[in-house]
């Protein structure tokens, strides 16, 4: 069963719900940010994109104090799968569930467009259905996606192979031009050491249907469904 957390200001909660419910016919429920407990029935918790608390002060700075986040932390410690997309990734960083921080995009502007990302890691529940070094076209939409981590953290992320997606060219080269926001080492998505928490800036839920012209995002959801054993809704 999938759970999607709604923070005041979340926008992509409805989009994730639509993809899981209508496209993949999965059991999925919303969780209000004031909930203090996460029910055992949930196998995957999604922190959706949007502007929680208006992104005021810093993106995710206030949402991380929502009551539900303590429950999410416990859920993740017990091996539960937590996927933070865009604003959700920023909340995971502010909550310290993933290392590093997000800075303003290098040319300071909000960017909404399709980008190419290279899959660097396929041994985690989120990218099982992908092939190693596969390039996916997934849209981004953010003003603070310029990932930063100090040299030690960066070194440990690389050594522990915690980098899941890097911005790349169409055929997988990691270049300066293919980096839309200045993120260090073209990082677009990372996971914790255990691999059950993933934070990614691109929006897979925005490219999971042919009718809107791009289906590359399906692989992320297909991987998750494969892992938790597809329990179709009644």
């Amino acid at each position: 069963m999938f759970g999607i957390v709604i923070f005041p200001g979340s926008n992509c909660d409805h989009d994730c719900y639509h993809v899981l419910r209508q496209v993949f016919n999965q059991n999925v429920q919303f969780i209000w940010h004031k909930e203090e407990r996460i029910d055992k029935k949930f196998r995957v918790i999604i922190l959706p994109g949007g502007f929680s608390y208006g992104d005021y002060l810093r993106t995710g700075a206030i949402a991380r104090f929502s009551p539900v986040m303590k429950a999410v932390e416990r859920f993740a410690k017990n091996g539960g799968l937590v996927l933070g997309i865009c604003n959700g990734f920023q909340i995971l960083l502010e909550a310290g569930l993933l290392p590093g921080a997000m800075m303003r995009n290098k040319d300071l502007k909000f960017i909404c467009k399709n980008v190419y990302v290279k899959v660097e890691k396929t041994d985690i529940p989120y990218t099982k259905a992908c092939k190693k070094s596969q390039v996916l076209k997934i849209p981004i939409a953010h003003a603070e996606g310029n990932y930063y981590a100090d040299p030690e953290i960066l070194k440990s992320l690389e050594e522990n192979r915690q980098i899941v997606f890097r911005y790349s060219t169409r055929n997988g080269e990691i270049t300066e031009e293919s980096n839309p926001n200045g993120a260090v080492n073209n990082i677009a998505g990372i996971c914790n050491k255990e691999g059950n928490i993933l934070g990614m800036m691109p929006h897979p839920e925005r490219c999971s249907e042919r009718v809107i012209g791009n289906e590359d995002g399906r692989l992320i959801f297909e991987s998750l469904i494969e892992v938790i054993g597809s329990n179709l809704s009644p």
């Binding site: 926008n11 909000f110 909404c112 009718v211």
Partner: protein, 658 residues
Amino acid sequence: MKDIQITKELIEAHGLTEEEYERIIKILGREPSYTELGIFTVMWSEHCSYKSSKVHLRRFPTDAPWVIQGPGENAGVIDIGDGLAAVFKMESHNHPSFIEPYQGAATGVGGILRDIFTMGARPIASLNSLRFGLLDKPKHKYLFSGVVSGIAGYGNCIGVPTVGGEIYFNDTYNGNILVNVFNLGIAKKDKIFKGKAAGIDNPVIYVGSKTGRDGIHGASLLASHEFDEKSEEMRPTVQVGDPFTEKLLLEACLELMDKDLIVGIQDMGAAGLTSSSSEMASRGGTGIEIELSLIPTREEGMTPYELMLSESQERMLIVAKKGKEKGVEEIFKKWDLEAVVIGRVRDDGILRVKDKGIVVAEIPAKALAEESPVYNRTIKRPDSQNELQSLELSKLQLPKNYNDVLLKLLGSPNIASKEWVFEQYDHMVRTNTAVLPGSDAAVIRVKGTDKALAIKVDCNSRYCYLDPFLGGALAVAESARNIVCSGGRPLAITDCLNFGNPEKPEVMWQFSEAVDGISEACMRLKIPVVSGNVSFYNETKDQRIYPTPVIGMVGIIDNIEQAMTQWFKRKGDIIVLIGDNGDDLGGSEYLYIFHELERGMPPSLDLNKEINIQRLCLQAIKEGIIISSHDCSEGGLAVALAECCISGSEPIGAEIEL
């Protein structure tokens, strides 16, 4: 507090004429109080009362079998089948955006969104139509980037995709930029809410942000006066938008409307509490009594005048069912928003405003909201019009190198790709954007059905300057072409009519002609007008804008698989020109760039041929004959062909036999 003495200067400072002040005395049967004077002023301003445009707007065709709600409510409503309705409207925020571009544009987006969700619809797509002076001057660049980031800042935060629009640059907008915003929402056909105060003794509830001195004499009065030197210090405290609070207000209101708790709801737009209370009472044929001391404020010592005229953003007025106050308050508490009962619906048809029990205003609501003065202002065709429309093509030197001409045209800001702009807008949130910005019309999927909506804003103001009648008709025809090229069947339009000072006969001539042109095209193409907005006084002492009647059109695509894009797809496909290619160079971009001329007659328009061409194109799309379709507009055939080659993901060539 001693009531302020009404003097001749005070009346003038409020922009009221002698006759208008006499009319107030006749309605009240006495001199107005200072607060009442303020209330009448904003309600009878050009922006709120349409006093100079009403007589002309009546000529618009407004009905068709699919129209559920025409002009007169917060937004227009049309039936799109499957038990659903499309709710849409356009608004202008021109003057506030000239003063503070970011906040002016941001609060424009906030205002149009509230007009949509107040009708019970979930906003699903926004467009905008922008006009600036030429980009060679720092001030114009500052205004341009400020407006774009304001629209992005507000729209992205609230999670409503901005999926397209149009931007033009011309000297005529140096002193008066135009910021028109369009929004469309989807509602259940049988769950449309109206801005009506019904049910005697029902509670009147104020919801949303606290009240401050924002925009006192803001949108309503600013938009009713020309800019002059005085406008620098006439600047009210600028209205600041809070998109996060608006998102909470949106979700709270939609949650509210799902439960059977309220009778009427209206956004506090221009003229804030005054317009919402009086319009709701007037539409309901009832009265409203409110107590000002109950209003949540964020500044100390606000006077009744300031409370009634404040244009603080993100606020709504609700008439709930008696006994359901608790239910309303609980929903707003969940979303951390104010929700305070500030009054009752009365049966005396009076807007009665009290402050700590003392009556500070007592005005018949109907007289205030619907019986503003109506002017049939004098009309005079400018003597220079004939001269303007004359153009001897033979006198113009033919270009030596046509490649240079095409490249320069494609590089002109009016034609060049607007990717730099729409990449700052989140145009994909809500996962309904089937055709991304950059094609003819934006195509938005309607979830739960096979349908999609094609939406477009369009106007060539140079054509309207040269011939307002033909320019108005062309704006409708071109919008319809764009919808049809995207596979859609045009259903209805909203509009934003931007003009100069109505007290000048030439401006009223431009306005009346444009209205006739739009009406003619709408009648012949069977596309009714269901909502709209008028913005006058877009004029400074030495410069008046070209007449800019922007059309916002909505069409339906019965099966989303038939949605069409403008770019060529495959080698070997045949290119077909439908309609004939006359030597219509009057008012063309070519003439403007290469000969610095803005003269001649706009392209001819044969509405019979237009109907047939559009029908043919739509039929051919339905039968799968057409792979891509694009309309010829600015830059003519050459630019249209170039756009078909380069706007797709893979550039592709084409060979043409003239």
